[in-house]
């Protein structure tokens, strides 16, 4: 054997990173609702705009 064994992979590196990010986020003291909203934006809706992420973090627009 010369190289690494071939693994079963889904060719979606961003999804791997987003999932790990959400896992790590669950382990620190952030509201569970925030993690759920981010999961919806990043994994389900694949919405990567600033506005979508801002709404996911704060559930509403941050204070002016």
């Amino acid at each position: 054997m010369t190289s690494s064994p071939r693994a079963e992979r889904k060719p979606d590196v961003p999804a791997q990173i987003f999932e790990k990010f959400l896992e790590d986020l669950e382990e620190v003291s952030v509201p569970v609702e925030l993690v759920a909203r981010l999961r919806k934006a990043l994994i389900e809706e694949k919405s990567f705009t600033e506005r979508a992420l801002k709404m996911a973090i704060f559930s509403e627009e941050p204070l002016p």
Partner: protein, 818 residues
């Protein structure tokens, strides 16, 4: 994912009508430059992804798929340009047909049309990296770290990851920026409260103590503690509506002094020096037209990125490929990184000026209120106007752009109009002459003002706390995201790095058996250093040869694909990617692909027939898994070395009495065939350093060697006492002799007709027997079942047998006991 069984190409690029039967196996396409190999590669990419990267992307100028994809004669009829591929999907145990036309590249016709098959196709469309050309390969190896990172990120689809990182960073930065004025407001509220309380520190005991002194004067119960709702004037009678509001003399004088101090600070030397410094920096920025314009563009691009959600440009509504459009705009934003850095430095220097201006505004606003309460009122219009100027200046400095307007505002900051000082002085005089209040009135005023300011401070602190919590939350999310993505990417790069080094060692085990490599991700860049014979780590282009760099490119590509697709890496097109690799190392690449990627179907192109033979002899491709293009014409497209086509073409030439064309083609084909025969039979040919062998050197050698092989086979059969086999071989030998002698009898004619170009002395009737003789002669080297030339096995060391591809012909060459 998939394996491609066959492809049919019609009126596409330089191809008129071509079908290749890959049978889901490795396949090679060989031909000189300009014979149509890349047309097949483009057609494969088009069928599977709807795009041809060679006709799109950076540096393509005014070339487009739709306009230049069809055959030049069908450029106005893109519907005729179509590619059909039959594709096996092993994971679904099914075969589908995919068809696209250039009339509508994005539309695809899939049969059978089911969701599972469409999902596979959707995945294919997002993975154009299944086609690798040498041009792309070099981008992985010789690119700058920034460019390489872009390429690898594109391959791994990291643009989404980077987009999220940039957004989260912007959100965190914006939240922190938004909390700055709230912090300033809370600081001012605190200063006002401290002045009202006449204490220097905001400590509960001191606040209660100061309030209780005043409460004692009014006979109110003392406060024993404070909560968020405690009122300092709790229990104090509310003044009746008829009683006019008075100026709290002592507090007013303190506030007047604070306003005076704030305004005086504005005209002080430190502020003047800071203004001069910032103006110099901004003037330098404004004088550079590129920088000045870039700052505007940065904001413009960033705004545009936020609105990019559909496949249309948010500014001009032109339809783009969304990914390409985002990449295009992001590249512009990245290019403005230096401009962002300069802007941030200037904003940091301006921060104390913003604080001083805010202090002036809040303190003069308070004086305006005192002026209205005075009897008669004191005209504080100049102070009011100056407060508005300070507010506008704060707005301008924080907005920053346009820089020229910011410079104008900065220039005016150290100048406070004299009437402002006059108004403050007039108010001070008006307040100073007010009668001293009674002790009780003073206590009432003290508690009233203190409570008002306590409430203002509490509200300011609440807002500041909320903004701080939001900023902290946004920052935490960003930091966790950065740490997670870095960690995952480091893991990916580490895996790829190890795999790449192992693959490269496999190809270069003879001279670089200890080869190592380092992929170094850092701040959006991807460094790539490789070991050079134990002398240290250097960029691949520093010391390694071009051939080694090509091999590195292939190995890095394979390692990335291995990571990305794992067991699903079932298909790849390698378009002339090893042109600089020498013969020995190509053999190793063949072995590598065969051994390490047994489940991947490689479609490979090469202009080098030797490389094609390596692929065959190393078993990377089967005997029939190749096509050799001999020429190309705009009318016909690629013309392959196909026995049937060649003899038909010669017959057609002779029917037209074009002996010259028939003779030229015969000679050309015999050169190709005899080279192939000498290689397959391991026939000895006098070595030539320039590899320019003549037909007269090759064909006789192949014929003589075939006879020797038959003789050797009879000896072997005799040693095994196989009389029947000896008879069979003798019969073959005899038939071969007759065929060879026929061509020998005609040899002079061939030479005259073909080699010496005396074709004009031959008529059709003279040349037809020549053609027939050589056609029959070549059949003597061919298996009648599989129609493939015989070959000696193995291709090195002691010959053991003469075989064909289908296995029907197998003649033993080994004697008993040897």
């Amino acid at each position: 994912m998939i394996r491609v069984d066959s492809i049919t190409i019609k009126q596409f690029r330089g191809i008129r009508d071509l079908t290749l039967d890959f049978k889901g196996k490795n396949f090679a396409i060989c031909g000189s430059n300009g014979t149509g190999k890349s047309g097949v590669v483009d057609a494969l990419e088009f069928a599977l992804t709807g795009n041809v990267s060679r006709l799109s992307g950076e540096g393509r100028g005014d070339i487009s798929l739709k306009q230049h994809g069809p055959h030049v004669d069908k450029r106005n009829d893109p519907d005729k340009a179509r590619v059909t591929v039959k594709v096996a999907i092993p994971s679904q145990s099914k075969t589908i047909t995919i068809e696209r036309t250039l009339k509508s590249p994005a539309s695809v016709h899939v049969t059978p049309h089911d969701q599972a098959a469409l999902e596979v196709l959707r995945q294919l469309e997002t993975h154009p990296e299944i086609v690798l050309s040498r041009r792309e390969l070099i981008r992985y190896v010789l690119a700058t770290p920034g460019k390489r990172a872009e390429e690898v990120q594109a391959l791994l689809h990291l643009d989404q990851v980077e987009k999220v990182r940039a957004c989260l960073q912007k959100i965190a930065n914006t939240c922190e920026k938004q909390s700055t004025p709230l912090v300033a407001a809370a600081t001012h509220a605190r200063d006002n409260l401290l002045r009202a309380l006449e204490i220097s520190e905001l400590i509960t005991e001191k606040v209660i103590s100061a309030a209780n002194i005043q409460r004692a004067i009014l006979g109110l119960p003392i406060l024993v503690g404070m909560t968020e709702t405690t009122s300092l004037k709790d229990g104090m009678a509310t003044p009746g509506p008829s009683k006019p509001q008075r100026i709290p003399k002592a507090q007013a004088l303190t506030d007047i002094q604070a306003a005076h101090d704030a305004v005086t600070e504005i005209v002080s030397s430190p502020i003047g020096a800071r203004v001069a410094e910032v103006m110099a920096d901004l003037t330098a920025l404004a004088d550079d037209p590129i920088v000045a314009a870039s700052m505007k563009r940065e904001t413009f691009y960033a705004t545009g990125m936020d609105f990019m959600e559909a496949s249309a440009c948010p500014f001009c509504d032109t339809f783009w490929d969304l990914g390409e459009l985002k990449k295009h705009v992001q590249a512009k934003i990245d290019h403005l990184e230096e401009v962002s850095r300069k802007r941030k430095a200037a904003e940091t220097k301006m921060a104390p000026l913003v604080t001083a201006l805010r202090k002036v505004k809040t303190s003069t606003d308070m004086l305006v209120r005192y002026g209205m309460l005075a009897t008669p009122p004191v005209d504080m219009q100049t102070a009011r106007d100056y407060s508005a100027i300070c507010e506008a200046a704060v707005e301008r400095l924080t907005t920053f752009l346009p820089v020229v307007e910011t410079i104008t505002v900065l220039r005016n900051i150290p100048t406070v109009p004299r009437p402002v000082f006059d108004a403050i002085g007039a108010l001070e005089k008006a307040v100073a002459v007010l009668p001293e209040p009674t002790k009780q009135d003073a206590a009432r005023e003290w508690l009233t003002v203190a409570q008002e300011r306590l409430e203002v401070w509490r509200e300011a602190m609440r807002k500041q706390k909320a903004a701080k919590a939001q900023a902290q939350q946004a920052r935490k999310v960003f930091e966790i995201y950065t740490a997670t993505s870095d960690s995952v990417l480091e893991g990916i790069y580490s895996d790829v790095e190890k795999d790449f080094a192992a693959l490269y060692r496999c190809v270069n085990r003879n001279d670089e058996g200890r080869f190592e490599a380092r992929l170094l991700p850092s701040m959006g860049k991807l460094g790539f250093d490789v070991d050079f014979y134990g002398r240290g780590f250097f960029p691949p282009g520093a010391y390694h040869s071009e051939g080694h760099q090509d091999a590195m490119g292939v190995c890095l590509y394979l390692a990335l694909m291995n990571y990305l697709h794992g067991t699903q890496f079932t298909f790849a097109v390698l378009d002339d990617v090893l042109m600089s690799v020498d013969a020995g190392h190509r053999r190793e690449v063949c072995a590598l692909l065969k051994k390490e990627f047994p489940n991947t179907q490689f479609i490979m192109t090469t202009h080098d027939p030797v490389w094609l033979r390596h692929m065959r002899t190393e078993g990377l491709i089967g005997g029939r898994s190749a096509v050799h293009f001999r020429s190309w014409s705009v009318d016909e497209g690629p013309i392959r070395w196909d026995e049937r086509d060649v003899w038909t073409e010669i017959d057609d030439d002779l029917k037209k009495n074009d002996v010259r064309a028939a003779a030229a083609l015969l000679r050309h084909y015999l050169e190709y065939a005899s080279t192939e025969l000498c290689h397959r039979l391991r026939a000895p040919v006098e070595f030539r350093g320039d590899a320019q062998y003549q037909l007269g050197e090759l064909l006789p050698s192949a014929a003589m060697h075939m006879r020797k092989l038959y003789a050797r086979a009879k000896e072997a059969a005799n040693s095994w006492n196989q009389r029947e086999v000896i008879d069979q071989i003798a019969a073959r030998e005899s038939a071969f002799d007759i065929l060879a002698k026929t061509t020998n009898a005609e040899q002079w004619q061939v030479n005259v007709a073909v080699h010496f170009n005396s074709w004009d002395n031959l008529c059709k009737e003279d040349f037809e027997p020549v053609v027939k003789a050589f056609r029959n002669f070549l059949d003597g080297f061919t298996c009648s079942d599989c129609n493939e030339y015989l070959r000696v096995s193995p291709d090195r060391e002691t010959p053991e047998s003469v075989r064909c591809e289908c296995g029907r012909t197998s003649i033993n060459l080994r004697k008993k006991g040897i």
